[in-house]
């Protein structure tokens, strides 16, 4: 086990915009089946970090390796082909297509049928698309236009789309942002279950500490572009540096005292 390279290995990732160091020398790794949370206050560099993992953004220096293979600077679509699915902070879906068609497009791409001009797309992997939608609890919405969905449902659809190429790694940027408290818990439970069943590694960023501490196996804390702590939820909770960062922002106590009423 120690011989095989980790699913995701990040080494010395660095990015600056002008004089601002958005991300400085971030290194971490992620095992298959593990759920890793990347947290930090606003502007800590979470999204920048995230975007560099799947080629949405180019790092100034550093390496990203997937099962030992260098993927730094590859285009998002190439990274996807290597088995990395991703959901976005603000959902990105195909608004004029139905829910099923959204999943079918991903399946078509996975099956390398993008330039098939005369086949029938409505019949393409219809059952598989249905299964994926059932998996995320969207089976009943298959024929609905995507533009009509509520926000929480769009997030679940994104998850189904991200699962279409049987990914090894899921990148979820604030998967529960904008959702109601109960929806948040449901979505994360679902994600965790799928990750364990299929042994998919999950990396997610999140502002809701309840979600983070309940579902993450391990937590990375980012502040001003640098990793300041890493460990199990209990370790991170007890870390004085993390407390200082969050107490300064007044976030942890707010979130706990109000118990989700602040959503």
């Amino acid at each position: 086990m120690s011989v095989a390279p980790p699913l995701l290995a990040v080494e010395g990732l660095t990015k600056s915009y002008g004089g601002i160091h958005a991300v400085r020398g971030v290194s971490f790794s992620l095992r298959a089946g593990e759920i890793l949370a990347l947290i930090g206050p606003n502007g800590a560099g979470k999204s920048t970090c995230f975007d560099m993992l799947n080629g949405q953004n180019m790092p100034d220096s550093g390496h990203v390796r997937l099962l030992g293979e260098e993927i730094t600077g590859r285009k998002p679509r190439e990274v996807w082909r290597l088995g990395v699915g991703r959901t976005f902070q603000i959902t990105a879906t195909f608004a004029t297509m139905t829910v099923r068609e959204n999943v079918q497009v991903a399946l078509i791409s996975h099956g390398k049928q993008l330039f098939n001009l005369f086949g029938s797309a409505p019949k393409f992997d219809r059952d598989e698309a249905g299964r994926l939608l059932e998996l995320v609890g969207m089976g009943g919405y298959a024929d609905r236009p995507c533009g009509e969905l509520a926000y929480g449902d769009l997030k679940r659809l994104e998850l189904a789309v991200a699962l279409a190429n049987q990914p090894k790694l899921l990148l979820m940027d604030e998967p529960t942002a904008g959702m109601a408290p109960r929806e948040r818990v449901e979505l994360m439970r679902l994600t965790a279950r799928i990750a364990r069943e299929k042994s998919i590694g999950v990396l997610f960023t999140e502002h809701d500490m309840d979600v983070v501490f309940e579902h993450a196996d391990r937590i990375l804390v980012l502040n001003r572009g640098t990793l300041i702590a890493e460990g199990s939820p209990a370790e991170v909770r007890g870390n004085p540096q993390v407390q200082a960062v969050y107490l300064g922002e007044g976030l942890v106590y707010d979130a706990r005292h109000r118990e989700g009423a602040s959503t």
């Binding site: 679509r77 902070q89 001009l117 236009p145 789309v161």
Partner: protein
């Protein structure tokens, strides 16, 4: 050496007007996000009104006063246009705005002829700048020197206006975020109106200042608008400095291009534009635009393949159409063939525009290339008709492959402007390269072989090809490729995140659409027996756009209905009135403002409503959420 210096100065002088017009377009776009196609029309009206005023008013004051007065008068017309037309369409998709302002351009073209007549008008020389200055044996008109100075002066005034006045600060703020400016309590309506007035004033001034240099004529609007589009694409939409630099660049390229490629000087500008687009797709001084604001669609109504009943109905309609020769005369059959050919043309654009979300404003280029392909093969290589029909469209295919490659690097209004510029370049080549294309005289004597010669046979041929093309493209809409294409239209971000190479998909669609248009053009060449530069002109491109919009841009095959109705109406209209552009322009504006879903789209919407009325309280409509990342 002196000759080159003079050539350089001539280029600089031409840049002045071009800069004025381009900066006006840029300012208007920056704030209102409307690409004002009618900008060329305002330029032209400026020139005509200045001509009249400078003829009526005497003396130096009369001339200069007339120029400035003309610009103010046109600005006033601009204010009226903004208040009456544009205010209604600020929230419409970009395509509709471009089209509405194009409709206005068409109307102006006819109105100008109606008022000032069709002949070229040669204006007065500018008082004080009548002579020429001798430069090592070469003459430089002193008016050119005046223009050379004027350009930077106007740039300076605009800079002061935007940096030093309260109004300028508001305009710059609105250019960055107009919603925020509105939220801060600025009266957006008047800001937009004043910006539009300033932009139009600059265009009209540019036109008025041209009268001592050039004759005033009723086609000058299209010529300038294409150059202006090239300028803003190179300089970057929204940047005034970019407009200045690019205007100088383009004018110099034109001035020296004539020395290098005397026959096809426009090639040089095209090459530079292509290089700029590859290196900096948003132009030399522009900023990369955030992802397109919305898809061209207005509502969300999922597409589905035809049911078997609907297929039978379509087949029945085709059989009825095929029986036309049983009771119609030769004239009607020729009209029928023409309509069938335009169905091919319209569905090809529809595929690109509705399925791919890429609104080409120069689709006629590929139609015309198909026609010229036939002309070259039949006249020069002497190949039989069937071979020509198979090979001719390849010229459209190749043109689409080359231009499409560059065009799909851009999206939205940039894409529209670029396709228009490409089409105009192809037109210029056909027009200027007389040795090969026959220039304005075209290529004559292309007659179908005997198996397709009679009107009824040619009608059946056209109808058959049209049916085939429509079915093929419709199949593609529901093919895996069609899904991928729709995906890139809805969200490039998501497409790329699931392994789709969006640009390659769009390029493929462009080539498919161009080739199909080429098939239409090939048949058209045989129908008319000749090929002319007009076969790839702007008005033909716009015909295609109107056919698609009339049928309904959000439908799967509305273009078929749109083409039939529009073409029939058009042929009838031309036979009834001399002012067809005026009527057509009004018609386009009417569609855009009151009928934006088109015929088929409106019918579908009504049917949908009736269906939705039965199951009560079916869905709670959430707002469509599109990524803005």
């Amino acid at each position: 050496m002196a000759f080159y210096v003079v050539q350089f100065l001539t280029g600089l002088a031409s840049a002045a007007s071009l800069f004025l017009v381009a900066s006006g377009l840029s300012i208007i776009f920056g704030v209102t996000r409307i690409v004002n196609f009618a900008h060329g029309a305002f330029y032209m009206i400026g020139a005509y009104i200045a001509f009249t005023l400078t003829e009526r008013l005497s003396g130096a004051f009369g001339f200069w006063g007339g120029i400035v007065l003309a610009a103010f008068a046109v600005a006033l017309i601009g204010v009226i246009v903004e208040m009456v037309l544009l205010r209604r369409i600020y929230h419409a998709p970009e395509l509709f705005q471009l089209l509405a302002t194009f409709g206005l351009t068409l109307m102006v073209e006819d109105l100008v002829v109606l008022i000032w007549g069709p002949d070229d008008l040669v204006g007065r020389r500018a008082p004080g700048f009548r002579g020429a200055i001798d430069f090592f044996g070469q003459n430089i008109p002193s008016y050119d020197l005046f223009l050379i100075v004027l350009g930077p002066v106007v740039l300076g005034i605009l800079w002061l206006l935007f940096q030093r006045t309260r109004w300028g600060v508001l305009v710059r703020a609105a250019t960055q975020d107009r919603d925020m400016v509105a939220a801060l309590g600025v009266n957006q309506k008047w800001l937009f109106t004043s910006v539009f007035a300033v932009g139009v004033f600059l265009a009209a001034l540019g036109g008025a200042l041209q009268i001592p240099r050039d004759a005033v004529h009723h086609a000058m609007d299209l010529r300038i608008i294409v150059e202006v589009f090239v300028v803003v694409v190179i300089g970057g939409l929204g940047s005034i400095v970019g407009a200045f630099v690019a205007a100088v660049l383009v004018s110099e390229l034109n001035a020296f291009g004539i020395l290098i490629f005397p026959k096809i000087s426009i090639i040089l500008v095209f090459l530079v534009m292509a290089v700029v687009l590859i290196v900096r797709p948003w132009g030399l001084f522009g900023k990369p635009e955030a992802a397109a604001r919305k898809t061209p669609g207005l509502t969300v109504n999922p597409w589905r393949p035809l049911t078997s009943n609907e297929r039978l109905m379509a087949l029945a309609a085709l059989i009825v159409a095929a029986m036309l020769p049983l009771f119609a005369g030769n004239y009607l059959l020729t009209v029928g063939s023409e309509i069938a050919i335009f169905v091919i043309f319209a569905v090809s654009l529809h595929f690109l525009m509705s399925v791919g979300g890429l609104a080409s404003f120069g689709h006629a280029a590929y139609f015309g290339l198909g026609a010229y392909g036939i002309a070259f093969l039949a006249k020069m290589a002497g190949l039989p008709m069937i071979v020509c029909l198979l090979l001719g469209p390849l010229l459209g295919c190749m043109g689409a492959a080359v231009f499409g490659f560059f065009a799909v690097q851009l999206s939205g209004v940039y894409f529209a402007m670029l396709t228009l510029a490409f089409a105009q370049i192809v037109w210029s080549i056909a027009f200027q390269w007389v040795d090969v294309t026959g220039g304005d005289n075209g290529i004559l004597g292309l007659w179908p072989s005997s198996w397709a010669a009679s009107p009824s046979r040619f009608y059946w041929l056209s109808l058959g090809v049209a049916a085939l093309v429509t079915v093929a493209l419709r199949t593609m809409v529901f093919s895996p490729f069609g899904y991928a294409l729709r995906a890139t239209r809805d969200s490039v971000l998501r497409s790329e995140a699931i392994g789709i190479d969006a640009k390659r998909i769009q390029w493929t669609a462009f080539v498919i659409a161009g080739t199909t248009a080429g098939i239409g053009g090939a048949l058209f060449a045989y129908l008319k027996g000749s090929v002319f530069p007009d076969n790839l002109g702007i008005s033909l491109s716009v015909d295609a756009l109107v056919m698609v919009l009339l049928g309904g841009v959000e439908t799967v095959s509305g273009a078929v209905i749109g083409a039939i109705i529009y073409k029939a109406l058009n042929i009838w209209l031309v036979s009834q009135t001399d002012l067809s552009k005026l009527v057509l322009g009004g018609f386009i504006m009417l569609i855009v403002v009151v009928f934006p879903k088109g015929i088929v789209g409106t019918l579908e919407m009504l049917a949908q409503r009736r269906k939705k009325a039965s199951p009560p309280g079916s869905t709670l409509l959430a707002k469509p959420i599109e990524s803005a990342e």
